[in-house]
């Protein structure tokens, strides 16, 4: 979708130019500057904001996986939170029970989660999108039940513990240090996915989304690519979950019901379906929304609005309603998400005096 927003006059004269990661030199410099700025962030921000940034990074990686599935392949998963949690438990299990260092446990748990995802995805991926939605719904319930039951793996009702992340004998403690681990994973994941979209496989996924019949006629194996994309989604969910486990150091299955899966969907939809950078924007939006509502309700406390609505006790419900309404509003009014809005703002300034 993003390629259709390139302004007139910006010609690509060879395939090599058409498939670069960054469309222009400026965009590449901006991306590098963004990463450098993030790397400097721990020196300027306090613990609260660092925990926000870490949350955006962790959920952003998981949402990126969902965007590959939802935005690039046109399949839907309602069990993303369960896969995220599976990655978290796997990494906790590997690091604390098997003695695998966290450095290896994170990618390993990504792979294990992808395998588990395929168990649920395989029967559904050969069918239409809505069957995958239903199968992942089943996965959500089955996996959560498994976590509650399997004490050897997840500790059952007792939260599982995970070892802190360490490399070459140096342990990353506290938000300010762990942030660099998350940042590294975010950069690698986002580069990987952007890169993958330039390859044969990436273009095949988009072809499956846009018109699966024509894609099949052109020799694209539908079952293979639908399954692949579901595997990628589960993989990134697992990576995100593993990072979450080593950040929190304890993992409990509480709070990872279907509402959390809806949150992941919200991140992708708000950010923009099929937009890699939009995923981060959407995640930031969804992570910061509850905080913003918290500030708002704090500002309104004691006032007339607060008393009539009973905001103080019902803030969680208001938040859930807000999330739902925002998803619907984006789907109806802005199906391309925040990424599209951002492009329009850029285009406005580019053509400033002649905006039309």
């Amino acid at each position: 979708m993003a390629s259709s927003l390139i302004p007139a006059g910006d010609f690509r004269t060879s395939y090599a130019v058409d498939t670069t990661i960054f469309p222009t030199v400026t965009s590449r410099n901006f991306a590098i500057a963004g990463v450098v700025l993030c790397a400097l962030a721990p020196f300027a921000l306090n613990d609260y904001w660092m925990s926000m940034l870490i949350a955006i990074g962790i959920y952003g990686i998981a949402a990126l996986g969902l965007n590959v599935l939802l935005g690039f392949t046109g399949q839907i998963s309602i069990g993303h939170a369960a896969f995220f949690l599976f990655g978290a438990f796997t990494s906790a299990y590997l690091s604390s029970k098997m003695g695998v260092p966290a450095f290896f446990a994170i990618p390993l748990s990504g792979l294990v989660t992808a395998l588990v995802g395929l168990i649920f995805g395989l029967p559904a991926a050969r069918l239409k999108g809505l069957y995958l939605a239903i199968a992942t719904l089943a996965a959500q319930y089955i996996l959560l039940d498994f976590f509650a039951r399997a004490e050897w793996f997840s500790g059952g009702s007792v939260p599982a513990s995970a070892e802190p992340f360490s490399i070459f004998g140096y342990t990353f403690t506290g938000d300010h240090q762990y942030f660099y681990v998350v940042l590294a994973y975010v950069v690698v994941s986002f580069l990987l996915v952007t890169n993958m979209m330039r390859t044969r496989d990436g273009r095949a996924l988009i072809a499956v989304r846009d018109h699966y019949l024509s894609a099949e006629i052109m020799g694209i194996n539908l079952t293979y690519y639908r399954t692949l994309s579901f595997g990628i989604a589960a993989f990134f969910a697992g990576i995100g979950g593993a990072l979450y486990a080593h950040y929190q150091l304890v993992v409990s299955y509480e709070g990872f019901g279907i509402e959390r899966s809806v949150l992941f969907l919200a991140m992708v939809i708000i950010g923009g379906l099929g937009s890699v950078m939009g995923t981060l924007m959407g995640t930031a939006f969804v992570v910061l929304l509850p905080e913003a509502m918290e500030w708002l309700s704090a500002a309104l406390r004691g006032g007339v609005i607060d008393q009539t609505l009973g905001l103080k006790n019902n803030i969680t419900f208001v938040r859930e309603i807000a999330i739902g309404v925002i998803i619907i509003a984006f789907l109806v009014f802005e199906p391309d998400g925040l990424a599209h809005r951002w492009h329009q703002i850029k285009a406005y300034w580019k053509f400033y005096p002649f905006s039309h």
């Binding site: 939802l70 046109g74 939605a133 239903i134 089955i142 419900f317 859930e320 309404v325 789907l331 109806v332």
Partner: protein, 297 residues
């Protein structure tokens, strides 16, 4: 082996299964007529049950009046949902439509918690006697009522689709929207009607469940149980949905029996339908009675 318990559980299964069947039927109704996979079906039950509860407790309306008022309310509510949320999504990709219904379920779920609180509320007593004696089994009156209401709704639905003018119009629209339109059927009103009927039927099921178990947000699990039932019966078969619902209800209770007597895993009752769902997707993805999709360009 505890035969008494098994029979009791199977009777439970039949009663609950028929209710699943009714909800699955109203789910299939929407899917067939408008091609929308409704993930907010359980919330329609929830809204119906809460409205009826509020009428009876807050406004002291007797049950025989509260029930019709609830049905009228849900009829209008269904039309409103279709008008406000679903009509803008016509022609959008199916995953967008699915996501709107998911978001809708989040909104309704949270709104109900906001308005009525998170605590389960008991439903006022509707029947004088607690239980009746059927063939030596003690069965709660509400269960008998539930079974009768469910069968009546299924029969009513069957009559509606077989014989009534609106039902025929709906079937024609489900078969081919363009042809239906060219024959003078208003597809728009058929869409609205299907949501209205589905919401009303779901609300009746919701009230029945509420009379048995009380009202709580847990009611919306009936909307989730619809998926194993409809996948088993075939996504676009109304008869299949009813049969699938009954099978899932029986299976749940049978799983509970096996679990309680032999396995002692606990909680098998709740997840068994989802294992069945995955297995059906593996071996017979279009269900028992669903039409196998033949794609044409």
């Amino acid at each position: 082996m505890n035969t008494q318990l098994l029979i009791q559980l199977l009777v439970n299964g039949l009663v609950v299964g028929t209710l699943y069947g009714v909800v699955a039927m109203s789910f299939v109704l929407i899917y067939k007529a408008t091609q929308v996979v409704n993930f907010a079906q359980g919330e329609l039950l929830l809204v119906g049950a809460w409205v009826c509860w509020a009428l009876m407790i807050k406004y002291q309306v007797p049950f025989y009046l509260a029930m019709p008022i609830t049905m009228v309310f849900m009829f209008i509510f269904g039309i409103l949902v279709q008008l406000v949320f679903m009509r803008p999504m016509i022609g959008e990709p199916i995953i967008s439509v699915i996501m709107v219904t998911i978001a809708l379920s989040t909104v309704l779920q949270a709104a109900m918690k906001w308005i009525f609180g998170v605590n389960p509320q008991p439903f006022p007593q509707v029947f004088a006697s607690q239980s009746v004696d059927v063939l030596g089994l003690q069965i709660q009156t509400v269960y008998v009522m539930s079974l009768i209401v469910s069968v009546a709704m299924i029969a009513g639905m069957a009559w509606f689709f077989q014989s009534s003018k609106h039902g025929l119009a709906m079937r024609a629209t489900a078969f081919d929207q363009q042809v239906a339109q060219s024959l003078g059927i208003s597809v728009k009103s058929v869409f609205a009607m299907s949501w209205a009927i589905s919401a009303t039927v779901s609300a009746v099921a919701g009230v029945v469940v509420a009379v048995v178990n009380g009202v709580s947000s847990g009611l919306s699990i009936y909307g989730i149980k619809v998926f194993p039932a409809t996948i088993l019966g075939g996504l676009d078969s109304i008869g299949g949905a009813v049969l699938g619902g009954i099978i899932i209800g029986l299976l749940e209770n049978f799983a509970q029996f096996i679990d309680g007597e032999y396995l002692h895993w606990g909680n098998l009752y709740e997840v068994a339908p989802f294992y069945v769902l995955i297995i059906i997707l593996m071996i017979k993805p279009y269900g028992l009675f669903g039409t196998k999709d033949i794609e044409r360009v």
